[in-house]
């Protein structure tokens, strides 16, 4: 697609002046499909522009520059004195992300098992597991948090559960796809040699699944940390509570501090996560990888 023909870059011979450029051959039907798709994309763009423009107040737009400048001057210098108070909230954010990821991983395990074609125990299990995973995946963790805050009351527990509920879909989906890739052959040969169900799972599937499972757990932890920073906006604990409080009081110099703290934590988490995943790819166990 997009004119990616390899012959075009080779270009051993310069085409004669005026000669048409060489194009990859395509059928008439291909060409019309392509044109229709592009036309639909452009039409949708125009329609979207209209929808957005309908509700836009030009008056607000005109002073956007002035607003940005104003906000900028209020945000500096950062009020560093709030750092100690915010560090506790930041630690809570890390805890929410970690507990949420662990609980999510524990829940994802059986669901991935039920959803994979090769391991699904009975015929109705797969659609049910797939449905649950799809629901978990389609709803943002903030929306889960909104619902859980009503049920459990505000606080980090609602936040951690929201993170867990969102992570299940992510980890479960990657899980069943990997289990299917592993295939049924190893467990079948184990069964032929008289292995129990548990031994089939432990030696036929888990060894091949484990590296990608740990990798996706660490990756999800990194995403979850980022999402946990805003859970406080809906009352589900963490540094987001401090952020909301600072914004509500229009204390923009405190907002700067919170943002810098978040930036530092997320960048750090990304570094840790990519190192661990790199080690996993090289085939070390996660315990060894986390030593570094």
């Amino acid at each position: 697609m997009m004119g990616s023909d390899p012959n075009g870059v080779r270009g051993q011979e310069r085409p004669a002046r005026g000669a048409a450029r060489w194009r990859s051959p395509q059928t008439l039907r291909d060409r019309w499909t392509r044109r229709t798709v592009w036309l639909a994309c452009v039409l949708a763009l125009a329609l979207s522009l209209r929808v957005v423009a309908q509700t836009t107040e030009l008056a607000f737009l005109r002073d956007a520059g002035a607003q940005a400048l104003d906000l900028g001057t209020r945000m500096v210098p950062p009020r560093w004195s709030v750092v100690p108070a915010m560090l506790g909230a930041l630690a809570e954010t890390v805890r929410i992300a970690t507990v949420g990821t662990v609980v999510g991983a524990l829940l994802a395990f059986p669901l991935a098992w039920l959803a994979a074609r090769t391991t699904s125990p009975w015929i109705g299990a797969r659609p049910i597991a797939l449905g649950l995973l799809a629901v978990s995946r389609s709803v943002n963790s903030l929306v889960w948090a909104l619902l859980l805050v009503v049920l459990l009351g505000p606080g980090p527990l609602a936040g951690a559960l929201a993170i867990a509920l969102r992570s299940v879909g992510f980890l479960g989906r990657l899980g069943w796809e990997t289990i299917e890739e592993v295939g049924a052959a190893p467990s079948e040969s184990l069964r032929a040699s008289g292995a129990s169900w548990w031994a089939q799972a432990q030696w036929g599937i888990w060894p091949a699944w484990a590296p990608s499972f740990w990798g996706s757990v660490v990756f999800r932890w990194e995403i979850n940390l980022r999402e946990s920073t805003v859970l406080g906006l809906v009352g589900a604990g963490g540094i987001g509570v401090g952020l909301q409080a600072a914004i509500d009081r229009l204390a923009w110099s405190e907002v700067t501090v919170v943002l810098l703290l978040i930036l530092g934590t997320v960048v750090l988490a990304e570094a840790v996560s990519s190192r661990v995943r790199e080690a996993l790819r090289r085939g070390e166990s996660p315990a060894e990888a986390s030593d570094r």
Binding site: M1, M2, G3, S4, D5, P6, G8, V9, L45, L47, S48, L49, V51, V52, T55, T56, E57, F60, L61, A64, Q67, A68, L71, R95, T98, V99, V102, A134, S138, V139, N140, L142, V143, L146, L147, V150, L151, L152, G153, P156, L157, R226, E227, T229, V230, L233, V234, L243, I247, L259, I262, L263, V266, V267, E270, S285, P286, A287, E288, D291
Partner: protein, 265 residues
């Protein structure tokens, strides 16, 4: 006679097992101590139990109850925001991706582009949305700007990684042919990563649609605004109707994307 280990175990270094046990114990301690420190208030949970039952009862009967127009408008805004943001952010992201790829971009430009990408990625969409609402006013324009910036950082990061994996022989060959910078970028690197770009944009469209449901919580338009109102009014039937529609939309888009992927990419 046979007093050896009864079960075969994978051979491993003597310290590996101890380390693994330590890691598990640490993790377990962490989780338990956290759950303890959060002081789960059982009385509160039990009191919540009754209202949870009411809530679930209402939610089990999804209804649009006179809010049909709002919901329709909300979804239209969400879709428009996601679509616009994918194209705008995608375009900016492709430029940023090229600018931050180590094998084609000059170092000064590279560090500038990388800084922007890192900052854009570290900030959650909600935080970006708060700022754009302050700058551009309430409504889907702020949401579009938010999602566009997030998309640009996302595409920029992943695309620059893809570009750095392009076979160096291709780039060397192009240099040997005397290609200038633009001929190299447009004629050699772009074709090599084009399928990746299309795949990233599809994935990001999916993410944008999901995120468009939450930026409304801080006033940036879309279905999130309608959802927040319904939640604030305890209209659980409306909430479940919106969430149900959202799930169906996201899954439909996912199915479409996977068809496009297998057909064209």
């Amino acid at each position: 006679m046979n007093h050896g280990p009864r079960r075969w175990r994978t051979p491993e270094a003597p310290w590996a097992r101890r380390r693994r046990t330590l890691a598990w114990v640490a993790l377990a301690l962490l989780v338990v101590s956290l759950l303890g420190s959060w002081g789960i208030d059982l009385a509160r949970v039990l009191r919540g139990g009754a209202s949870a039952w009411d809530l679930l009862g209402d939610a089990a009967r999804p209804t649009v109850a006179g809010r049909g127009r709002d919901i329709l408008e909300g979804f239209a805004q969400s879709a428009a925001m996601a679509w616009l943001a994918t194209w705008i952010g995608g375009t900016v992201g492709v430029v940023a991706g090229f600018a931050s790829a180590a094998n084609i971009s000059p170092s000064a430009l590279r560090w500038l582009a990388r800084g922007l990408v890192v900052a854009g990625r570290a900030m959650h969409e909600m935080i970006l949305a708060i700022f754009f609402v302050a700058l551009l006013g309430f409504g889907p324009l702020a949401g579009t700007a938010t999602l566009a910036l997030a998309s640009a950082a996302f595409v920029g990061k992943l695309l620059s990684e893809a570009i750095e994996e392009v076979d160096p022989a291709l780039i060397e060959a192009s240099a040997a042919l005397g290609h200038g910078f633009w001929a190299r970028v447009v004629g050699v690197v772009l074709p090599a990563v084009a399928p990746r770009v299309a795949g990233l944009l599809l994935y990001r469209l999916d993410i944008n649609l999901r995120e468009s449901a939450i930026v409304g919580l801080v006033g940036a338009g879309g279905i999130g605004a309608v959802l927040t109102t319904a939640l604030a009014r305890y209209e659980w039937g409306v909430v479940s109707a919106i969430l149900g529609l959202l799930i169906v939309l996201v899954l439909a888009l996912e199915a479409l994307a996977s068809r496009v992927r297998s057909r064209w990419l």
